[in-house]
Symmetry: C3
Subunit: 263 residues, 3 copies
């Protein structure tokens, strides 16, 4: 049995691009299990891809092969790479899309061995011609070392770390962050974990203030804040869309203060 392949792109599903990559993979690794993580990332949005991978990775099987193709620079000098981290294998362009998910120890290769690619490599579809085939070979237990030459460093996308204001006494006064993703339900997802929050938090976004967190989406308040399923602070409208209600999206400022500090 081959290792399962988890597939993430900005290709959309209206064209046959995703299906064709899967066809090429199955030509190399017949019977392989291929699971779509999503193909509806905003077109050419490397950061959205990095966020999606970072939140999904903890739930992937330990033998997962991840194929991540958000590749606005396809055909240029950006390197194709494959990286192993925590046992899982990641394949994609070296443009930052893999950089948030590869946080701790890792080892990687530059994909420079054409025997693991399609015989003809187009300038504009490396998902089909290079990344997909390499993922198929890795899923078929070709060792990482064989598909490329050692990689020293990968391109790192700056992680949007929250800023902390300190007051005169050195206590954290406010945590400044932003909306990093809006999901299908219109929930505004930040990059703040529970550990980032001050006690008794007051969340401000789009001029609206939310006092305290609730445990789940079923609440009577019109606007709520909670720690969502990825462990990140979210702002939501119960049975509605916070993005629509507040008229904001990715990049909107989110500030968290403590009720005990600023009463």
């Amino acid at each position: 049995m081959t290792r399962p392949i988890f597939f993430l792109t900005d290709f959309g599903l209206a064209d046959t691009y995703v299906g064709v990559v899967k066809a090429v993979i199955l030509g190399i690794a017949p019977g392989a299990t291929i699971v779509d993580l999503t193909h509806d990332l905003p077109a050419q949005d490397v950061r959205a891809g990095a966020f999606a991978l970072w939140t999904a990775a903890p739930y992937l099987p330990p033998d997962a092969v991840v194929l991540a193709v958000v590749d606005p620079g396809v055909g240029t000098a950006r390197r194709p790479i494959a990286v192993e981290a925590e046992g899982r294998l990641y394949v994609g362009p070296d443009n930052g899309v893999l950089s948030w998910v590869v946080g701790g120890e890792w080892r990687g290769v530059t994909l420079d061995r054409p025997q693991f690619w399609r015989p003809m490599v187009s300038a504009s579809f490396h998902g089909r011609d290079l990344f997909g085939p390499v993922a198929a070979h890795l899923a078929s237990d070709v060792p990482l070392d064989e598909v490329g030459s050692p990689l020293d460093a990968l391109v790192r996308l700056p992680f949007p770390s929250p800023l902390r204001d300190l007051d005169a006494s050195g206590t954290i006064g406010a945590v400044r962050s932003e909306v990093i993703h809006v999901d299908r339900f219109g929930n505004l997802i930040t990059n703040l974990t529970a550990a980032d929050l001050p006690p008794d938090p007051i969340v401000t976004v789009a001029g609206r203030t939310i006092r305290g967190l609730v445990p789940h989406f079923q609440a009577t308040a019109p606007l709520i804040a909670l720690i969502g399923s990825s462990g990140l602070l979210e702002v939501a409208v119960p049975n509605g869309s916070a993005a629509s209600a507040l008229g904001v999206g990715v990049g909107a400022a989110v500030v968290v203060r403590s009720v005990t500090i600023h009463p």
Copy 2:
């Protein structure tokens, strides 16, 4: 080989929610076949989920495991359940989403045994943390009795049964129903079967009247009525969208009279 899992949600495909549930399932049941029924149900629309399951179920293999997660009450007291009916297994919240598909004899359990869940269960994503894992165990032939405690009754969503007007002689004069689903082609699908219709039916919807049924979508009339592929009365525009042409959607009134009664 594991039993095939059929997966239905309102998660959409733009986030990684669906992919992450599949990843968790494959971690428990490697190589499992997982088929998407749809993930584009209107957000938090339990009734749309119940309808989709009800129309799809007759075509599922007899050993199907169905994972149905439309769960606006996630994190609240609504029970997680698994039910066996006609040999198939259904897993989801006890909020009515399973109630139309479980019509005749059934047996079920409340999912109250954490050894079949992920070790950490979030308050807002039971698809990933509870329902998906239980479906994976059931697909791997863990008996239904083992994953929970016996269930006496499940939450029933009222089925939108058609109303029948009787005239003075006790004959059915008109059947009053509604549009219960609009499909991708803009066809207006009702909950009326052929058996519900009077002879020589005249269908009225949105002020428009259609005399008689046609056998298929290729007709010369601008607006047609037919018994669709799920055995339900549909109103359609050949090579067009009835929903757009008439400007109506789910909930629109549909009345069927008989030409022989109201000439």
Copy 3:
């Protein structure tokens, strides 16, 4: 192991139509691998289906079974067929959707043997009741000859061949073509291959002129022309949408001249 099935329709993913066809297939061929090519073809657009198949086919495994259901005439006299070409098997309605992919040698059958269908065949969903079951049987190695009677000819959809203007000396002056597909990135894809183009091409579309081709999408020009991943001439906006920028879509005229002929 069964042969992999590649599945293409205009059903969309919002209904359970696609999932139900897969359920029926798995009931006949348990464990079959089914890959979506796309289900978001424009509704009832046979030509878009023919184009999608034609561009995807070269990348399919040699043992692929292709299930192509774009079928506005479902229920009428159009024949259901299955065709073998270059080792691959294609199943669908005989309305032209298979005609561009079946270019060279082929053999085929009319699907006239109900023992390979569902017991009840609806008038409006042959994907579920007839084409899907036949594809499942073919994937399970039932020979093509068994599922139907020999087919002499199939319905051919005219291929939009480019027109070539000749000047007084008989030299090709201009090649006249059109946009045949707009992809998810807004790229305008024509039916011209590199072999169709004159030397030093100048591409004109929507009143805009592009001098020369670039090798990939990362270019400094606001509007570019290149040979895309399917080997076809495309017009693109780097990191943007040519369809939006130019306000054109499928059917828009594209003219290619040679800089050396019309300086």
